[in-house]
Structure formats: C-alpha cells, structure tokens
Subunit: 340 residues, 2 copies
C-alpha cells in the first residue's frame, strides 16, 4: 500500500534489514525552507492553513529522506478546541492567558465536536496524504492529557509546572475530572485524524517525567491507557519523556510502540518491556550538533543495541533548531545505510 | 560534639529512632524574613557579606527546626573564582556574559587560590559555625564540574544546555581539560570549607540528568569521583538530579550519601546501591503546595519506604518559593514526629 512501509512493518514487529527512521520535530526550525515560511506566516497560519501545513509536513520527507511524515501541528490545538485561548509568543513559547484556576472551571469545560472545531487539522491531513501519494505513512498526534493539563492550568511553559501540580494536590477530584475531559477529546481527535488518513498516532507525554512514580499512576498513566485503548484503526506510539520509571506500565497499556528519551539504555528498556512491543528513539538531540563522523558512529551503536526488529530509529526528543541540515541528514542516512 | 548530631550519625549509618531532616534551598525565598533581606541587599551582598550569609543560613534552623544548616551561597562562586563574570538577573537567573566559547579559553583558565578568591565564603562559614554554637552541623557545597561547565559554556540557565553539550561533542579534549580545571578548584574549595568549619559537604550535579548514561560516564562521573576521593575530613553527599541511571556508579565513588530526586522509588534505589550508603531525599517539592494533612501522610510513607537507618529526609529538589511556611514546617515536623 505504501512505497515505503518500513514504519508500519516495524510497528507490527516484522523482521527488517534496517529500522525505519524519522525525527521528532523533523518539520521545524533547522530547515531553511521552514524558516522562510516562518518569516511570512504566523504560527497559527502555518498550522491552520492546510496548504502551508502540508508543505511543511512533506519537507523533511523530500529534503532529509525520513521514512515517515508527522503532521505539522501543535498539541495545544486541543485546549483551543476546549474553548481556551492559546497565544504563541516568539521567544517565550505558548501562553494561555486565562488558565484553568478554579474547581468549577475544571469541571465545566464544554465537550467540543472536534471534527468541527479542528476541521483544519483533518483538512491538512487529507491534503498531506494526497500530496505524499503513498510514498510514506503520515503520523498524527496528541499531547497526553497530563501534558495538556500542565499548560491549561499553568498557563505557559515551566520547568516544574508547580502550579499545575499544586492544583492536583489541592483539588484531586477536580483535576481528575479535567484530565478525563481532555482524554475524551484526545480520543475523538485521534480517531478523526485516522479517519482523515493518518496511518500511525503518537501520544506525547512531554511532562510526565515531572511526576513521581505514584503520581504518574494517578495523573497520567490511566488517561494514556484510555487513549491507547480508545484509538481504532491505526497503531499507536506513546512517548513519555523522563518516564523511565513507568516503562512497564506504559507497555502494559497495549500500545504498539514506546518512545524513549536518551537517558534510557536500549537493553535496559527491552528488559523492562519484553519483546512484543516496538521501541522508538533515542539519539541525544544535542549530538546532532557534533561531528558527522561521530553521529554515524553513535547511530550505528544505537541500532546495534536496539536491534533491527521491533525498533524505529528516532531522536530521544525533538530536533534542536540550530542543528545543521547536513547533520540531520547524516543521522537519517546512517540508519538507512545500516547493515546487520 | 553537636547538641543535635543526627545528620552525622545518619551518614555513619547508625541506627536512629527517626531520620534527620533538612531541605535543599531551605534558606530561601519561601521565608518572609529572607524576602525582607532580599529587598534590601543584592544577591552578591547576601552571599559575600558574612553577617548576612550567616543570618540567612541560620534562619531555617531557628524558624523551621531543621537538623542541619546549609551555607547560604551559590554554586557559581566557583566560576567567579576562575575569573568569570557572573551576573544575577532578577526573573532570569544567572548570566555569564562572557562564556567559554573557544578551545584556548577552555584550556587556559587560571588556577585560583580559593582561600584568597573565596575568602568571604570561609568567613561566612566561620561566623555561621560560631553562631550555630554546635546546635546542628553546617553543610558546605559545590556544584559538580559538569553542572558548572554547563553555566560556564552556555552562559545562562537553559532547559537543555545544548551549547554546553555541543562544546563537548565538538571539542571533547578541551571540554575535559576545562572539567578537570573546575574539578581541582572544587576539591580545594571543599577542603577550605571543611577547614573553616563545615561538617558535611554536598556536591550538586543539577544538570547531570541532561546527559545520556555513556556521556555521564565521560563528562560528569569521573570528576565527581575525584572530588569525593579528594575531600578530606568530612563526609560527602552527591545529589545528581535526574541521574537515576548512574546511581550504582555514583555510590561506587565511595561517597557517604546519595541524594535522590522524587522520580526514584526508595526501594528501587536501595536495591541499586546496597546497604552501606546513606540515601537522602526525596519528597516532591510541589507536594509542599498541597494540604498539610497530605504532606504528613506522604512523608510518613516516604520514611516507611526508606527506613530510619542510613537515611536523611529531604526534598527531591530545592524548596519552591511559593511554599507556605506552615507547610515547610509540616514536612519537617512530620519527620521529627516519626515513630518506627
């Protein structure tokens, strides 16, 4: 069905000659052509205009040669669908000027019709799928309920999201109610994305690692579990940054793939989760700022450690804006040239 | 020798009725009396004036009832001693306007006489020790060489310190030379602190968790190892935030204590490091923003899990500025009221 279906075959656990490779944030600021569009169009224009979103999504497939595309969008479209204002402020990141601050607010967010509220995402998916013309599969995504909750309560990025965590400790029932509302939207949204044409979905738990293991089981894991079980018609990957302590539990959700950050030793991870799940990751993004020859060497070593079955090569977090294009390409080419 | 020597006895592994307790950043912004001094005196006045540093250091002993004092100072006095300018910018944190950016700079930093360059720290220690009058022991500290390197190369705080990491990947020999220079200063500085009267030293590897396990063994661990072995006359504690993957190796340095962040399960940590080292930590600092009754309950559970031998109760990172004083006190009192 796809000219290059390595990504899907890796998620099915097929034995491959070499793993597929893509990079988190691969359609982003390290690409000069992206920067040109960034100068001309605001963040929301870029994600809300299907032509622009498609152009950006396809860029790394054409220019870097990755084995999968991931839709250019943002996890904060879900809070927007929930009626919250989201601003994207250059140099500061996302700001939600009216964060959730009371029990009643947490309990009364309206349940949106995502097909209507986020129709532009589905339009972008349809156009991207058409443009990709079955060359490689397209990945859709959502933020995890916990990670979205962090932004919705804190109101902006933070190194500890202490306000969001304090809300949980002060009002645990209201926090769970809000997490549950977000979860419903995430499930609807991913299923709408699949209906529109994405072949894989990824759930980003970017801030799960701020929770201790017990809190993770209370405020993040159960909602990810619901999403994994609620997604129909496409394999899922969960990437929970900093959540080394919950790998077993995340694997037990039944997700097809588990993304790993670069602090996790591949063999240690495999021992945690067993052989029936595909692992994804985990090259340190900062290493793409080094020398090409070291990137090649370390990339080979990474694949040696993960093996070529049940494995998708990726970074351990998003690609950094100041990575030279030739180094991103060196990483991708190293995977593609891998010989068992 | 001390009226309250629980801290020292915990580090020796003595069997205790209850663990000692102190809190990282206990002399800080959650204390109203500290805030009054902060309004009147700049950051550098507060750390360079022995009377002020002493007053701040002693505050949590008198007001919160902790079992140890930790000198009010900053890890960045070491880069200052190495001739670098450090500015403390309100709302932004530390800025080093002329960071290390070349191989030659990394290799040619002067070796300072710390007793002379940082005499004000030793003066503050002497006055604090006198003021404490053997009530509780005083803890001295340094930043780990890797953590100091991060600031010295990046020039400011960062969520990924990608510039500092890129320097390592681009110029590994120069990076190691700089790390070695910092290490020498750290050893001299801790020994000078001990000579001036601190009874325990702690090494803060705040940014070790940004390195993958192999890079940690290259760029952080060997230098911490040298410090632990080079410190004479006082027990040491290593707190390496986010370094769950290196606990065995950190314990193998021979340090007396190992600080843990709140993502680490106490029993898991104990299984990693064996019974002959004191563990310290690891209450989630955000939990002090919750309800006192929950703090008490969770604190009891934490001690149940760590046990009362070879254990020092603490937070898993610094206390947050917006913690109510009564909650900080609830935490400390919970430990003090612990009954086996």
């Amino acid at each position: 069905m796809y000219t290059n279906d390595l990504m899907l075959r890796a998620l099915k656990g097929e034995k491959l000659q070499r793993p597929p490779v893509w990079m988190m944030r691969q359609a982003g600021r390290y690409l000069p052509d992206y920067m040109k569009l960034k100068e001309k169009h605001s963040f929301f224009e870029r994600i809300e205009n299907p032509e622009l979103a498609t152009e950006i999504t396809v860029m790394p497939v054409d220019q870097i040669g990755v084995d999968a595309a991931i839709l250019f969008s943002d996890i904060l479209v879900v809070p927007q669908a929930l009626g919250m204002e989201v601003q994207m402020i250059s140099g500061k990141g996302p700001v939600l000027p009216n964060p959730v601050s009371s029990i009643s607010q947490a309990q009364t967010l309206p349940k949106p019709d995502v097909e209507e509220k986020l129709h532009y995402v589905m339009d972008a998916i349809k156009l991207t799928v058409k443009t990709l013309d079955k060359k490689v599969p397209l990945i859709g995504f959502v933020g995890s309920p916990w990670t979205l909750f962090c932004y919705m309560v804190e109101g902006h990025g933070s190194k500890d999201f202490s306000k969001a965590k304090a809300f949980c400790y002060q009002h645990p029932s209201a926090a769970k109610k809000l997490l549950q509302s977000i979860t419903g939207v995430c499930i609807d949204f991913l299923n709408a994305q699949i209906k529109a044409g994405v072949a894989v979905v990824q759930i980003f738990d970017s801030w799960g690692g701020l929770l201790g293991p017990e809190d993770y089981k209370t405020y993040s894991l159960p909602y990810i579990d619901q999403i994994v079980k609620g997604v129909k018609g496409a394999p899922s990957i969960v990437f929970a940054k900093g959540c080394w302590f919950a790998l077993k539990e995340l694997a037990a959700t039944g997700t097809d793939g588990l993304g790993l950050d670069w602090t996790i030793n591949p063999k240690w991870a495999r021992a945690q989760v067993g052989d029936n799940i595909t692992l994804q990751g985990n090259f340190d993004p900062s290493k793409l700022l080094g020398q090409s020859k070291d990137i090649q060497k370390e990339c080979m070593l990474m694949i040696d450690n993960f093996g070529t079955q049940n494995y998708i090569a990726n970074l351990g977090h998003g690609i950094l804006p100041d990575v030279p294009v030739h180094n991103a390409k060196a990483f991708v080419d190293s995977v593609k040239n891998y010989q068992v």
